[in-house]
Symmetry: C2
Subunit: 384 residues, 2 copies
């Protein structure tokens, strides 16, 4: 297996945009290609992801993007794993380059949903659940995560205040991220007093519907060394699943696919978790970040809420989580999210993250979840 | 790169079915796993494809199928490349096994569209085109292929009769395929007199909307040798694109992605095209088969119609094409099609194809096109 490098990563501003998903994808891709210092025709293939093509009546987005980039012959395969679409696409590009099938690959994720009314958007999102058993029975994602939150509160004493601290932190981090959806700090009281979506989750416990695109250029070692003095390598990739529907699980307070994918990624990276300096994790709801930092192993099971409240995961804490602002405040343009995490890692590891720069950031862990965990992709990046 | 084997391949009957896509996928997957002589929990990961999830409001199908198979931890990534979804999924599984990431992978494609009215189904299909420029402007696939047919007729003198011969042959082959959508022979006159869909294409020039599922188990050499005395290996894989929209092309009578993907697959297989004994090609419309056999190189450009009329591609011809009945008569459950081609190759190469068995079938070429060629996947399989 060859070493694989991230030569560049770029994204549009997340939030509401007037562009289509295809336009945004091309903008992010062009910016990543330019930042990589290569010509578009050096890109040999791509993985493209756009979970809500139905929102613009466009499937098979790959060839359209490649045509717009002027490289129609380069194959572009679309990957979808609900909200883990970006991480899944990243993994397949990683494997293709690692295996020697391509020397330079593009990964691009894009989403446009803000033109939909909330009910339609929520319905499309619920296609990512087990629709027959969940989404089609009015169990949308807020409800499913509310069930997990309730279980976590009952079992470990996690409080609504502790969940609110996740939101407060991520909104604070996003203040320093010019590409974030929200630039607005919130207090614990703001979160607790916001509209109840599905108890115990309030509006500010939930990530937004965002538009946006992100792209990354992956390459072989030879090409990376030719183009940069600061090579960022992907040293570990993990990918696992768990039951599609929540009711099939023995335990609601953990997401098994996170545990498995992290274990795989660390093993491949030949590092211990303690060597990770920060992480971007999948905080689609505040409870999701709490479960993620527990399942990854940054804190003991059940201690995630307390650790967050105590500042362990702050930008200057022991293990900063979601320096970008996370899904909660940077935003969640579904298929772009996992690739947006690469943008954050790329900037942090190259010490280009400005006011949100983490001191001594050399190893990053990226955690991307699809639905309630049916898909999980974890990647570990390092500045060589 | 490791050698990759097809340990088993199975499919449901193509045609109208009362099952959902998820049910059909599980049936095909279970049959393939059983035929492989392995236990489900030996499957380490999967690529799943279902181009028209919107028809049943289900995205993120992978974890649902894995849950139904009792292996929820095994990751399942969804791939979509319009009508080349099956071939694209096959390629990624091939690469994952070749690279050593997994020893046993499942590939499964499934589709259910027969519950939709024709207009809705046609609209969903057109999402696979460049919808902004084509599908959304009433240029559906029959129209786009009619443009290609007209160009081919004008440039090479291809006739409607010659196109009809493709349909006649494929319907004849399907008579011997118990899993085919249609078991009904047609004559040249039947084709010529059938309803005009988009001139010059008549109804019997067009493949049907089909439901159905197909699955294959791919594995490493070590596992293949442990389970079978008749190992079928994937010796070549090619994947290329061409412009998403037809109007961007300099030439309508050729599909550039076919030419490129075939070249890649042959190079990887280290064989000459003359060593291929038969092919399953993407005959979504009769003109598509004619263009495919030219672009692959079985006949000179412009000679595809004549060669078909003269019987070159018959079951007992020099180069049998679509012994299964092809998309035209075996049927075209979109994402299942490319994996259904593996089923045909598997049965032919193991000399288990019954009345449609091709004498001396040792090397098969599989050709799967997405939309009007924006995606193309080509695989070469051999009995070792």
């Amino acid at each position: 297996m060859r070493s694989v490098y991230v030569l560049a990563a770029a994204q549009t501003k997340f939030g509401k945009m007037r562009k289509t998903a295809r336009e945004a994808a091309v903008i992010a891709a062009k910016e990543a290609i330019e930042l990589a210092g290569i010509e578009a025709d050096e890109v040999e293939g791509a993985f493209v992801t756009n979970a809500f093509g139905v929102a613009e009546r466009q499937g098979h987005l790959g060839p359209i993007i490649m045509s717009s980039l002027g490289i129609p012959e380069a194959p572009a395969t679309t990957v979808e794993s609900a909200c883990a679409s970006g991480g899944s696409a990243l993994r397949e590009a990683f494997i293709n380059v690692a295996a020697g099938f391509y020397d330079v690959m593009l990964v691009v994720g894009s989403e446009k949903v803000s033109h939909l009314d909330t009910l339609t958007a929520t319905t499309y999102f619920s296609y990512g659940s087990d629709y027959l058993l969940e989404g089609g029975n009015a169990a949308g994602f807020p409800g499913l995560y509310a069930a997990m939150a309730t279980a976590h509160m009952n079992r470990y004493g996690t409080t609504e205040e502790q969940m609110a601290f996740v939101s407060v932190k991520n909104h604070k981090n996003a203040m320093f991220n010019p590409k974030a959806h929200f630039h607005k700090e919130v207090t614990v009281e703001d979160v607790l007093n916001s509209m109840v979506v599905t108890s115990p989750l309030k509006l500010f416990d939930c990530c937004p519907f965002s538009d946006g695109a992100a792209a990354a250029v992956l390459c072989s070692e030879e090409i990376a060394k030719r183009h940069t003095d600061t090579p960022i390598s992907i040293i570990g990739s993990g990918r696992a699943g768990t039951s599609g529907a929540l009711h099939d699980r023995e335990e609601l307070t953990t997401i098994a696919s996170t545990v498995l994918a992290v274990r795989q990624a660390l093993k491949q990276a030949h590092i211990a978790l303690e060597e990770v300096n920060f992480a971007e994790v999948h905080d689609c709801f505040t409870i999701a970040e709490i479960m993620a930092i527990e399942d990854i192993g940054f804190v003991e099971k059940g201690e995630g809420g307390k650790a967050t409240e105590e500042g362990l995961t702050d930008l200057d804490g022991n293990i900063p989580i979601n320096p970008s602002g996370g899904l909660k405040a940077k935003g969640h343009p579904v298929a772009a999210t996992g690739i947006g995490q690469v943008v954050e890692a790329f900037e942090q590891l190259r010490v280009e993250a400005g006011k949100r720069q983490i001191d001594g950031a050399e190893v990053a862990l990226l955690h991307n979840i699809g639905a309630t965990g049916g898909s999980c992709a974890v990647h570990i990046l390092r500045r060589d």
